[in-house]
Symmetry: C2
Subunit: 381 residues, 2 copies
């Protein structure tokens, strides 16, 4: 069984990017990833783009982006699974390489959202939820995760302070990430005193919509070893769905998609949760990170609120030590690739002030929608 | 090298489908394909949906569709390449099977468009073209293809009558397809007397927006042979892009994406154009079918206008003998799968009144946008 390796990474500044078109935004991490991999754009045999097309005036962005990057006549298409769109792009590219259809592929997450007013973004995003049965009752993404938080609190006694502690941790690490949207530390008090968006979630419990992009160049084992001294191998992949409608979910304080996807990835990589040295999890809301600790098996069910202290560097499993969605911002189609860039830097030992000592095995957990999709990847150096 | 086979097909009625939600529309061909393959939905290990999300109120349809079809917790995602979205879904699924990640996959093309008024559809569709440099000058899809037709006429002397003959042929076959949107024959005179949409294209030179769905169940060689007496093998795959902006294309009377994609598919299948027994090509406008004859090598460059007579059953290569996009209607995300369903029926000898005698090798040609994407597949029984 041949391996699939990541040989190049790139990451744009996340935040408000009115300074660039979507094509220009795609170019930034592409150029960086090419240089990082030491290859020419003519070496790219295909491109898979993760993105959520509905936020952008330009439709079907794969076409214009491919032209702008000088990648014609190579094939390209877009993958979409809401906020996990670029994690499924990596899964798609992995399959294209393992099947010997291509040797070297560009995986690109790129998203512009902020050309819309916030009210419009929330409306578009809300339509990822059930427009027939749930949206008429006012569901938005914050309200879905607000219900998950209420449920977690009721069932396990999780507190608002514990939720806030996730935001404090991620902003602490974000303050050291020059590509993050927010590079400022915050305090528990600031979170708790900030305005309520969907009870019990305060505005500082929520990540922010953003523009941004990230790129990965992946290759088959032969090319990866030939081109890179530090290929990072994709050793485990998992992808699963959970019921779309909340009505049909037996429980709200967990995402069964994450449980199933992580089980697949652990099985394939032949590791247990305890072996993970560093993780990037989908903290679209603070409660989501607490649920992820449990769904991924980092801690026991119900103990997620207490695990935050163990998610710092030096703790059991450092999580989101690049700032997470919370501090980096969440350009939905780019987030999955951004997480992988964070893990690759860690496994290469290039994470600077936020380096986890001797990180050998990393994990990404990318959730789509309100949990109807989850994609987990495990990487090793 | 193990093969990938199609073991189940399903196809909804195309047209105005206000009678169903997108989930219900997806269910129709899914149920039919399951029955056709003689399997249970629990046998489906993953689903890839081809669709263009921007036309529908419900966003990220993979989630609700998966739930409605009873396919949780299996993974699902959507692929998008404008009108070739479900051809890239098949390409993705092929890779997932060839890489041994899954054994049996559902490929589903599903699209609702007509919940929007026509003016809105044209606006949305037009945004697949270049919104920065071309749309301000009034480009729509009909105008792009109108320019291709003008160019073909100027260069090769192609006539309006030849364009009209494509529509006449496809409506003739559509009249025998109970799933087609239009089941009426038309005459050259009717086409030429119909109103101009984008000169020289009359309204009868244009396909119609539609709602519709089609499904394929594909499997690895072992499962395909075990489950089906008549598996249809995917023997050649090609996918390519052409420059997005018309300004950068050296010529308008051809799609280089189609030339490149078909070359890849012929090479892999080890056949030449002459060996194709039956084809489904992307006749979004009549000129598109004429260009396809040439781009696919069915006839010499410039002779496409004369080839229409050879594209009837009994001619050199029967093309779109299920009615094509022209008579079936064009639910953009479903068209690629619909084409494959047509070819599978032919290769199984199940095409009824429109059966091509002894069809052994079939081809599909699915174009995305104004040609920035093209996907070609070759199939054998």
């Amino acid at each position: 069984m041949s391996q699939v390796g990541i040989i190049g990474i790139g990451h744009s500044k996340f935040g408000r990017r009115d300074d660039v078109t979507v094509q220009e935004l795609a170019f930034e991490p592409f150029k960086e990833a090419l240089t990082d991999a030491g290859i020419n754009r003519k070496d790219i045999e295909a491109t898979i783009i993760g993105g959520s097309p509905v936020y952008m005036t330009q439709r079907s962005i794969a076409g214009p982006v491919t032209e702008y990057l000088g990648l014609n006549p190579q094939p390209v298409w877009l993958t979409e699974a809401a906020c996990s769109s670029s994690a499924v792009a990596l899964r798609t590219a992995y399959a294209l390489i393992k099947s010997n259809m291509h040797d070297i592929i560009l995986v690109l997450g790129v998203q512009k959202m902020l050309e819309n007013p916030t009210s419009e973004i929330l409306k578009i995003m809300g339509r990822t939820g059930d427009v027939q049965w749930e949206a008429p009752y006012g569901t938005t993404f914050a309200s879905y995760y607000g219900m998950y938080a209420q449920s977690h609190m009721a069932k396990y006694g999780t507190t608002s302070e514990q939720l806030a502690a996730v935001a404090v941790k991620n902003h602490y690490y974000g303050s050291m990430n020059p590509l993050a949207m927010f590079q400022k530390e915050i305090s528990i008090k600031q979170v708790l005193e900030s305005r309520i968006i969907a009870s019990p979630l305060h505005i500082f419990d929520c990540c922010a919509n953003a523009d941004g992009s990230a790129a990965l160049i992946i290759a088959n084992e032969e090319k990866a070893k030939q081109l890179s001294d530090t290929p990072i191998w994709v050793t485990g992949l998992g992808a699963a769905t959970a019921p779309f409608s909340l009505l049909t979910r037996p429980e709200l304080a967990t995402l069964s998609s994450a449980v199933n996807a992580s089980k697949q990835a652990y099985d394939q990589a032949k590791v247990s949760a305890k072996k993970i040295d560093v993780a990037e999890v989908h903290d679209c809301f603070t409660i989501a990170e607490i649920m992820a600790y449990e769904d991924l098996g980092f801690t026991e069910r119900g103990k997620g609120g207490e695990f935050v202290d163990e998610a710092y560097i030096g703790g059991q499993i450092p999580v989101n030590v690049d700032g997470g969605l919370k501090a980096k911002g969440h350009p939905v189609g780019a987030t999955g690739c951004s997480q992988v860039v964070g893990i690759v830097k860690q496994l290469r030992g290039e994470a600077g002030k936020c380096q986890v000592d001797n990180a050998e095995i990393g994990l990404t957990h990318n959730v789509g929608g309100h949990g109807q999709y989850c994609v987990v990847h495990i990487f090793s150096r």
